[in-house]
């Protein structure tokens, strides 16, 4: 190698985990919430605010008996996110490739994003018989526009210089897509996934609440109808944990797929 000095701003390894300060801050907030719930439980009946001990006991019960509902919800969520990611990215690429189509597809996607989630849920119940079809449909119509619009924006932001450089080698359209466009939009897809995973879990549960007999949403509806507030809170607690885990998995994927990025530091 030559004696020219490498960039002094080479970032810390991308796989570095969250800092100890983040973990401490989260622990402090959790302890604060538990303490507040404990204090509230002294002054309110158990059907309003059960003590944390009762919620913990309900959580243990769920982990022992109802874990399969978590699995069902996760599978529904995963199917919806993966298909929305693939189909939405394909729509984004199509919008960028066929200029004449872009205004129409963009208008359709904007209209889609303007329809309230509840309307889609009610329509899904009317249109589809199968629970799985309903939930899948709801997730796709809610998530696909995010992927499509972000991938479209990503392709439009592709530096002209790179296109010119690749063009010098006289590639086919397929090679341009595979070697330039798709790697370039990966950060946009990951960013979209980070933004929508939590929303997607909430929408899956909401859809289960109104359209399914199994899954976390259905179990929460059942607990609510029998005034088991501790169980509702236990499910809520589990969902928060689940959301943390899912975000963690997405962050790991981000670090693995985007390890090539230099991280900017703003002083």
């Amino acid at each position: 190698m030559t004696g020219e000095a490498p960039s002094p701003d080479a970032p810390a390894p991308g796989w570095a985990l969250a800092s100890g300060r983040d973990v401490l801050a989260t622990a402090v907030v959790v302890v604060g919430i538990v303490a507040a719930m404990q204090v509230m439980s002294f002054f309110t009946p158990a059907y309003i605010m059960p003590p944390p001990r009762a919620i913990l006991s309900a959580t243990v019960g769920i982990l022992g008996e109802d874990l399969r509902h978590v699995g069902v919800t996760l599978l529904r969520w995963l199917a919806g996110v993966v298909v929305a990611l693939v189909a939405g990215s394909a729509v984004g690429v199509l919008m960028a490739s066929v200029r004449g189509l872009a205004p129409y597809l963009r208008a359709a996607l904007f209209i889609d994003t303007g329809v309230p989630a509840l309307s889609w849920m009610l329509l899904a119940i009317l249109w589809f018989k199968s629970t799985e079809e309903r939930i899948f449909f709801i997730l796709i119509v809610l998530l696909l526009p995010f992927y499509a619009l972000n991938v479209y924006d990503g392709i439009r932001a592709l530096p002209r210089e790179w296109v010119e450089m690749v063009d010098v080698f006289r590639p086919s359209r397929g090679q341009v897509l595979r070697l330039l466009v798709l790697p370039h939009v990966v950060p946009y897809v990951i960013m979209t996934t980070k933004s929508v995973v939590g929303y997607a879990i909430r929408m899956t549960i909401f859809a289960e609440l109104v359209a399914s007999a199994i899954g976390v949403g259905a179990r929460m509806a059942n607990a609510q109808s029998t005034l088991q507030v501790d169980v509702v809170m236990a499910w809520t607690f589990l969902l928060v944990v689940l959301n943390f885990l899912v975000q963690g998995v997405v962050s790991l994927a981000e670090r693995r797929l985007l390890g090539w990025r230099a991280e900017a530091v703003i002083r």
């Binding site: 030559t2 490498p6 790179w162 010119e164 080698f169 090679q175 330039l180 790697p183 090539w260 230099a262």
Partner: protein, 250 residues
């Protein structure tokens, strides 16, 4: 034998002439520098050779082909190095070098072997696994040279490729690059506004006036290029031609 021919070529953008009636012939294996003031149409002339767009008038032939109309047929025969390195940030140095080979359909083992060889030739052994952001400007430009030359093109075009580097790094890279292309017999056309760069590297310096038309041509040999006094005199002569701007072709 002529490798690049521009025959009475003109090109205008939005009614403004960038190249006007330019005729230029470049022989196989020759290193030619196009110099001129900013806006003289040097880069437009280079883009016409790349086939980025067709001329409004006249003909361009590169390796016997029309680079715009027969764009695909020049695959692997023409390479370009730009002012900025244009490395793809998600590809490691080795993968950036092998990009052209991948597009040309060279199988993985062979393209990796050739990419390593070219990284070695541009003195970047050990940087194979580095991402672009982990390299200095000079290193990145070396990797971009390796990417251009790894396809072993007959012709290489350089668009202000040394312009963004500091003088010491630029001089070192110019010397290494000229040595490589002379050794390979690659026809090279470099566009630059640095007269020293042109005179040090090229067999022939073509001085362009605006819009791109030949004001003068200066041939140098290895002895002259190695003589700082002679280079200084040539530099002053070219600067004078550029200042006058209307000097007839010699």
């Amino acid at each position: 034998m002529s490798e690049i021919v521009l025959d009475r070529v003109s090109k205008a953008f939005a009614g403004r002439s960038a190249v006007e009636n330019l005729s230029l012939t470049i022989a196989r294996g020759e290193i030619v520098a196009l110099v001129g003031r900013t806006g003289a149409g040097k880069s437009t002339a280079l883009s016409l050779m790349m086939g980025a767009f067709p001329p409004d008038h006249g003909h361009v032939r590169v390796a016997g082909l029309d680079p715009h109309a027969e764009f695909g047929q020049l695959a692997g025969r023409l390479a370009v190095s730009f002012q900025t390195d244009r490395l793809l940030p998600w590809r490691r140095a080795l993968d950036n070098v092998s990009l052209g080979l991948q597009i040309l359909g060279v199988e993985r083992g062979e393209r990796e072997r050739r990419a390593r060889l070219w990284l070695d030739r541009v003195k970047m052994t050990g940087a194979e696994r580095k991402y672009p952001h982990e390299l200095s400007g000079g290193m990145r430009q070396r990797v971009s040279f390796a990417r251009a030359l790894a396809v072993e093109p007959a012709i290489v075009l350089l668009d202000e490729s040394f312009g963004q580097l500091d003088e010491v790094t630029s001089r070192e890279l110019r010397r290494d690059f000229a040595e490589l292309v002379r050794g390979l017999g690659t026809t090279s056309v470099l566009v630059t506004h640095r007269l020293e760069e042109a005179l040090e590297m090229a067999d022939r310096v073509v001085v362009l006036g605006a819009p791109a038309r030949v004001l003068a041509e200066i041939r140098t040999d290895a002895t002259e290029r190695a003589d700082p006094v002679r280079l200084g005199a040539l530099r002053r002569a070219v600067a004078e031609i550029l200042e006058r701007g209307d000097h007839p072709a010699t």
